[in-house]
C-alpha cells in the first residue's frame, strides 16, 4: 500500500509552484482581478509550455498521458496561487474529448488543446436547471448535412476567449461547437469570482458536432470537475491558513503580535485542523476516479462537498483574523474568499452532493 505521491508527482507540484512564484506574483494577480478580462495570456502560454494543458492527453496527441490525480495536484497549486482563467473549463473539455470524442474529433482538437494553440471550455448549466446530464435541455437538430444546436447555457467559464465549446445536450450527450461558426451569442455575467469569469452563452442554431461517446463521458467529466474543484479548494484554503498565520505573526495589537493571543492561536489551529487532513480526501477521490470505479462517483461528491465547505469557512475565518483590513477590496484575502464561493457553488453546492453521496451509499 502506498498512499503518497510519487517523486514525479512531487516534482510536478514543485515545478508548478516555482513557475507561479516567478510568473504569478501578487501584483499580477491583483491587476487581473481588477482588470477587464480575467485572462492572462502570458501565464496561459507559460502553463502550456510546462505541459499542464495536455497533462491527461494521450502521448500520441502531444500530451503526457497522466491521470486525474496529476491534474488535481496541479489544480491544488493553481488554487493556492488563485491562478486565474480557463484551466478548469479547458481541462474538462479536453477530458470530454478524450473520453467521448471520435478519432477524427480527437485528431483535430487534442493536439491543439494540449499545446495551448486552441482553448476549450464547457457549457453545462441552464437557467433554472442543474449540472447533471439528466437536467440538460439544449437541443440538437439535423440541418442538411450537419447538426444545429439551440439552447442557452449559463456560468460558462472563459467563454469569451474559448475556441471550442463542449456543450451538454438534451438526453445527456455532449456536442462540440466551434466559436468560428455562426449562432453563438456570448454575454458576460457579473460573477463573484473575478479570477474565473463566466458568461451566458446562447446557441441559436449553432453548427454542432456530436461526441459519439458523449453520454458515457458526461458523468465522468462532471466527476472530474468535482475532484478538480476539491483540489482547488484545498490549495486555496491552505493558502488562506498561511495568510492568516503570517498576518498573526506580524500584526501588533496591545503591544504584541496578535499570534500571542490564545483566542487567535486556537482559531488558527482550528482552521488548520479543518483543512489539513482533507488533503488526503481529494487525493483519494482522484485515485478512486483513476482506479477504483466503484467508489469514484461517491468520493468525488464527498470530496467536493467537504473541501469546498471547509474552504468557504476558512476564507471567512481568514478575513476575521485580518480584521477590518481583511474586509477591504485592497486586501488580497477577498480574492480567495470569492474563489471559495465559486468552488462551493460551481457544479453544485455541498448539500446537493451530500444528498447524491447518501443515495450512492444506499442510505
Amino acid at each position: 500500500m502506498n498512499f503518497g505521491l510519487s517523486e514525479e508527482q512531487e516534482l510536478l507540484q514543485d515545478t508548478v509552484r516555482r513557475f507561479l512564484e516567478e510568473h504569478w506574483p501578487a501584483k499580477k494577480l491583483r491587476a487581473l482581478f481588477d482588470g477587464p478580462s480575467g485572462h492572462d495570456a502570458d501565464l496561459w502560454r507559460g502553463m502550456a509550455e510546462l505541459g499542464l494543458l495536455g497533462l491527461t492527453v494521450e502521448e500520441k496527441a502531444g500530451g503526457a498521458g497522466l491521470e486525474l490525480l496529476d491534474l488535481a495536484l496541479v489544480a491544488e497549486v493553481l488554487g493556492s496561487f488563485a491562478a486565474p482563467g480557463p484551466f478548469l473549463g479547458h481541462s474538462l473539455a479536453t477530458l470530454a474529448l478524450s473520453w467521448g470524442g471520435s478519432e477524427a474529433q480527437k485528431d483535430r482538437w487534442l493536439p491543439r488543446l494540449a499545446s495551448g494553440e486552441a482553448l476549450a471550455t464547457f457549457a453545462l448549466l441552464e437557467a433554472g436547471g442543474g449540472w447533471d446530464p439528466a437536467e440538460w435541455g439544449a437541443r440538437l437538430l439535423s440541418a442538411g448535412t450537419g447538426l444545429r444546436l439551440s439552447g442557452q447555457k449559463i456560468h460558462v467559464p472563459a467563454a469569451e476567449i474559448a475556441d471550442v465549446f463542449v456543450v451538454g445536450v438534451a438526453g445527456g450527450g455532449l456536442a462540440l461547437v466551434e466559436r468560428a461558426g455562426e449562432g453563438l451569442c456570448i454575454e458576460a455575467i457579473e460573477g463573484v469570482d473575478q479570477t474565473r469569469r463566466v458568461c451566458r452563452v446562447a446557441f441559436e442554431g449553432a453548427t454542432a458536432d456530436l461526441l459519439p461517446g458523449g453520454n458515457e463521458a458526461a458523468p465522468r467529466v462532471r466527476d472530474a470537475g468535482l475532484v478538480l474543484l476539491a483540489a482547488d479548494a484545498f490549495g486555496g484554503a491552505s493558502r488562506c491558513v498561511e495568510l492568516a498565520v503570517e498576518y498573526a505573526k506580524n500584526r501588533v495589537q496591545f503591544g504584541v503580535t496578535i499570534g500571542h493571543f490564545q483566542a487567535v492561536k486556537h482559531q488558527l489551529a482550528n482552521m488548520a485542523v479543518e483543512i489539513e487532513p482533507a488533503r488526503s480526501l481529494y487525493w483519494y477521490a482522484a485515485h478512486a476516479f483513476d482506479h477504483l470505479p466503484a467508489e469514484s462517483q461517491r468520493h468525488a461528491a464527498l470530496a467536493k462537498a467537504h473541501l469546498t465547505d471547509r474552504f468557504m469557512q476558512i476564507a471567512r475565518d481568514t478575513v476575521e483574523v485580518h480584521g477590518g483590513i481583511g474586509f477591504t477590496w485592497e486586501c488580497d484575502v477577498q480574492i480567495w474568499y470569492k474563489r471559495a464561493m465559486f468552488d462551493r457553488a460551481f457544479l453544485g453546492t455541498p448539500a446537493v452532493h451530500r444528498e447524491r453521496a447518501a443515495r450512492l451509499a444506499g442510505w
Partner: protein, 405 residues
C-alpha cells in the same frame, strides 16, 4: 408580564398620532419652502411638544423630557409610520451629543449641540487607524499645540460619512511622554480645514461605504478639545458603548430571518422547494430559536431600562448574538442560493442591516455579515468584555502587561 402597552401609553400614542395627523405631511403655510426647510419647521414643533431631542436640555435646543423608554419607542413607531422627521440619526446625535453633554464645556454645548440635533451639522468619527483596530488606544495620530492651535497629523480609517461631514470628533495623541491611555485627547476637527483629505475605502463587496481620512498639518483652534488634555480615552468610552448597542439591533435580525424564510420558499433543493427539505426546515427552526431569543431579550432589556434597571450581562451580548445570527443566515442563504451563489454582490451601498434585494443581494449580505462581525470591536474583544465584565474573570495577560486600558 404584559406585552400590550398600558392605558397611559396607549393614550400617549393617540396624542402622538393626532399631532402627526395635524402636522405631517405639512400643508398650507407649513408646506412652503424646500424639503429641508419643511423638515426643520416640523422638527422645531416636535421639539416643543417633547417628541424629538427628548433627552437634550432645552438650553441646547432639546425638549428636555424625563427619560421614558416606552414613550421613545412609541414615538419612533408612530413617526416611522408617518414617515415624519424624527430624531436626527447618525453618529453626531448618537455619539457626539451625549459625549458633549457629559464632558463638554458650556460654550461647546451651545455651539455644537443645537445644529447637530436639528440635522444641520453632520459628524464623522475619527477613532480607528490602520495600525490600531481592536487595540484602539495604540493610535498614533498626533496633535501638538503650536501658537495657540492644535496641529494634527495622522491617518484615520473606517470613517463613514467623511465626505459629507462638517466636523469629525477625533482621538489624537497629545502627550507623547504619557502612558498609552493617558496621552490621548478628544478633538473636534472642521472637515473643511486645509490638510484634511478624504479617500473612499472600497470593501470586498465592491462599494465604498467607508473612507480613509488623511490629516496633514491640520490646524484647529486650541479650544476644540472636549475634556482635558490626556483625558480623551475616558471621554470616548461612553460613546463606544452606544455604538455597540446600535449595531446589535434585534429587529434587524428578525427582518433578515424572515427574508431567509422567503428565500427558502423561492429556491429549490434536490428538485423540490427548499423549504420542504427537512435539513432546511431544521436549520431554519434552529436559527429561529436564536432570533426569537435575541428579539425577546431586547424587549426585556427595554423593560429593564424603562424601570431604570441595568440589563447586566444581557446588554453585553447583543452585538455578538447579532453577528452570530448574521453568520448563520449568511451560511444558510449561500446554501439556498445554489448556482446563484456564483453571482457578484449587488452594488447596494450601506449594506449593513439592510434586507437583501434580489438573490444576489444575499451575496452582499454574506459579505456584510463578515464586515459587521469585524466592525465596532471584533468578536474576540466582545468575548473578552463578556468574560471580564460580565462573568468576572481575570483580565488578559496582554492587558495586564499594559497596565490599564
Amino acid at each position: 408580564m404584559d406585552l400590550r402597552y398600558s392605558r397611559e401609553y396607549e393614550e400617549y400614542r393617540r396624542e402622538v398620532r393626532e399631532f402627526l395627523k395635524g402636522h405631517w405631511p405639512p400643508s398650507g403655510e407649513a408646506a412652503q419652502g424646500s424639503q429641508a426647510e419643511q423638515a426643520a419647521r416640523f422638527r422645531a414643533l416636535a421639539i416643543q411638544r417633547g417628541y424629538v431631542a427628548r433627552s437634550i436640555p432645552a438650553a441646547y435646543g432639546g425638549s428636555e423630557q424625563p427619560p421614558d423608554v416606552l414613550k421613545a419607542v412609541i414615538i419612533a413607531e408612530e413617526f416611522g409610520r408617518a414617515r415624519a422627521p424624527a430624531d436626527v440619526r447618525g453618529i453626531g446625535a448618537s455619539m457626539l451629543v451625549p459625549t458633549l453633554l457629559e464632558h463638554g464645556r458650556e460654550d461647546q454645548k451651545l455651539r455644537f449641540i443645537p445644529p447637530t440635533i436639528r440635522g444641520e451639522m453632520q459628524w464623522c468619527q475619527g477613532y480607528s487607524e490602520p495600525g490600531s483596530g481592536s487595540d484602539l488606544a495604540s493610535l498614533k495620530t498626533r496633535a501638538e499645540l503650536i501658537d495657540g492651535e492644535w496641529v494634527v497629523n495622522g491617518q484615520k480609517i473606517w470613517t463613514s460619512g467623511a465626505q459629507i461631514a462638517h466636523y469629525m470628533f477625533c482621538l489624537c495623541r497629545t502627550e507623547p511622554g504619557a502612558p498609552k491611555h493617558a496621552g490621548i485627547s478628544y478633538l473636534l476637527i472642521d472637515m473643511k480645514s486645509p490638510g484634511v483629505e478624504v479617500r473612499p475605502l472600497r470593501q470586498m463587496t465592491g462599494t465604498a461605504d467607508f473612507n480613509e481620512v488623511f490629516l496633514t498639518n491640520v490646524r484647529i483652534p486650541a479650544d476644540h478639545i472636549v475634556g482635558k488634555r490626556g483625558e480623551g480615552w475616558t471621554v470616548s468610552r461612553s460613546t463606544l458603548k452606544h455604538e455597540r448597542n446600535m449595531i446589535g439591533d434585534a429587529a434587524g435580525s428578525r427582518v433578515l430571518f424572515e427574508g431567509l424564510v422567503r428565500l427558502a420558499r423561492e429556491t429549490k433543493r434536490n428538485g423540490k422547494r427548499a423549504i420542504d427539505d427537512s435539513d432546511v426546515r431544521q436549520q431554519l427552526a434552529a436559527l429561529e430559536g436564536y432570533v426569537l431569543s435575541h428579539q425577546y431579550s431586547g424587549y426585556r432589556q427595554l423593560t429593564l431600562a424603562a424601570r431604570g434597571k441595568d440589563a447586566g450581562i444581557a446588554g453585553m451580548m447583543n452585538k455578538l448574538t447579532s453577528t452570530n445570527i448574521g453568520h448563520s443566515v449568511a451560511r444558510l442563504a449561500l446554501d439556498l442560493l445554489g448556482d446563484e451563489g456564483l453571482l457578484a454582490p449587488t452594488n447596494e451601498a450601506r449594506g449593513i442591516r439592510l434586507l437583501p434585494r434580489g438573490h444576489a443581494g444575499w451575496i452582499t449580505q454574506n459579505m456584510w455579515s463578515l464586515g459587521v462581525a469585524i466592525a465596532g470591536g471584533s468578536a474576540n474583544i466582545q468575548r473578552n468584555v463578556i468574560a471580564e465584565r460580565g462573568l468576572g474573570l481575570p483580565r488578559d495577560f496582554a492587558a495586564q502587561r499594559e497596565g490599564s486600558r
